[in-house]
Symmetry: C2
Subunit: 288 residues, 2 copies
């Protein structure tokens, strides 16, 4: 585990309500759904963007935690029986299998609230208007025209064959929006020129889409043991994927092309973008 | 319907995503769960507190809408089959009956995000730090140590006999916290002395608890037709209520005593508290 990941585990463990605080079972479920698992791609992106903007790590860990809590809540709700009905996540039973549906539902709800609480109660930007803008950004990408909207499109698309543009529209919302927000919030903890901010956003758009394409490729060819979640599930559930829409060869080409786009977007930033470059490589070349 | 209620219906209809915007079904569910129903007690309290603080109506309707969206989302999730499994709300089929469980779940999630988006994207206080404090307040009362925590306690208490203090602890979280936030956010849109703020909070605490006691009394003795929701359901589900904990006569005395406490808290504010006084009367003396 890298330095940022170690730091984030500690930050999340500290920022989540302690498991012995009442209501204890709810807090245990919130911690279960968030801690000890996940690649922490969004926090890594926030820290890497913060590098470019010269942001302090104390601010970045709060902003990154807020984004990760939104991600964690979305997984809990996505796994529920009325959604994907998944029983395995990050190699462990899903939250509703472990704690029951009602507690899992409430834990997801409370994780969302906590994300906004964190963004409001710590000082994250020199200008409080900029901090309000961070709250607005996270709320917008999490909502009906962002992540949750993408989940709804996914829901309605199950069992149908989507065109590649329709698939892209879905993923831009479902996963892309929150990944862009991770980069934007990391950058907002520091200082950037407007042109630099636009470069980071082009990077984030490419990386966000690449992340999903690679997910579909991994789901297509990985085994359950390596992934830590039920593999081949998308195909079984009739979910449209990049592999089903364009074939495995073109999907691999697309992932590689998006990586090139991401790297091109941040080339002018030089060494400050070192971690962003490594992350684009990691996201596209990962095997899990 | 009063002037504030008419204004709030129009504000909510405007602030919610339009039903024809994609994903249309999700937006239709969000509107269904929020519009054309409800007594709008929390917005009324926000406006009444805003009266005391000399707040502009343009600010109050945003703050009140944010609180009402949190309330609306909590009802959608509370009605789900894994929670109370309720089929009737405000005289209409519940959201999951009308739109299916998955869409109802997502609509609730998106309503919560929208509440924080509204608080961040409109100017609600002269000082942006004060506005961040409004975000923090709403996030805290909505979360695991506020409303959602209260729902968890409720969940765990079903089928058990709670003592009156345990029941009070549950309701202080489940409904009391959001009602206090409605008053606090309304006041924060204007200007108040610290002592006045404390008076409003004492009022809100008493009114919040009174609201729940009266709810239990109404559930005990009202018919389904008058309530617009399934009556006597709490008792059937083995949920502890004030009526089951202390009997109908003492419950009525308690509601009356809380009304007196609420009125005493704001007496010194004179005519500026006129609407707060009327609301305390409405909440305790209502028949639905």
């Amino acid at each position: 585990m890298g330095r940022v990941q170690v730091r984030m585990e500690a930050a999340l463990a500290r920022l989540l309500p302690q498991a012995q605080v009442a209501p204890a079972r709810l807090h245990a479920a919130m911690r279960y759904a968030t801690l000890e698992g996940g690649k922490r791609v969004r926090p890594l992106l926030a820290f890497a963007a913060g590098d470019v903007a010269g942001a302090a790590a104390e601010r970045l860990e709060i902003a990154a935690a807020a984004v990760e809590l939104i991600h964690a809540y979305s997984l809990v709700h996505d796994d529920l029986p009325c959604m994907d009905n998944d029983v395995l996540r990050r190699g462990k039973p899903t939250a509703h299998v472990e704690f029951g549906e009602a507690t899992a539902l409430l834990a997801g709800d409370a994780l969302q609230s906590l994300a906004f609480q964190l963004l409001a109660e710590h000082r994250l930007a020199d200008d409080p208007h900029a901090q309000l803008e961070m709250v607005r950004t996270l709320a917008t990408v999490a909502g009906s025209r962002g992540m949750v909207g993408g989940q709804q499109i996914d829901l309605e698309a199950t069992g149908t064959a989507l065109s590649v543009p329709a698939l892209e529209f879905m993923h831009i919302h479902k996963t892309g929006a929150l990944i862009r927000a991770a980069v934007a919030l990391g950058a907002a903890c520091g200082t950037l020129q407007e042109a630099e901010r636009r470069s980071l956003d082009r990077y984030a758009k490419a990386v966000g889409l690449a992340f999903q394409v690679v997910d579909d490729i991994l789901d297509y060819d990985a085994s359950t043991a390596t992934l830590g979640k039920t593999a081949g599930k998308d195909a079984k559930q009739g979910k449209p994927t990049y592999v089903s829409a364009m074939g495995i060869i073109r999907a691999r080409e697309m992932a590689e092309s998006l990586r090139a786009q991401a790297l091109a977007a941040v080339q002018a930033l030089g060494s400050r973008a070192g971690r962003l470059v490594s992350l684009a490589d990691f996201i596209v070349l990962r095997k899990f």
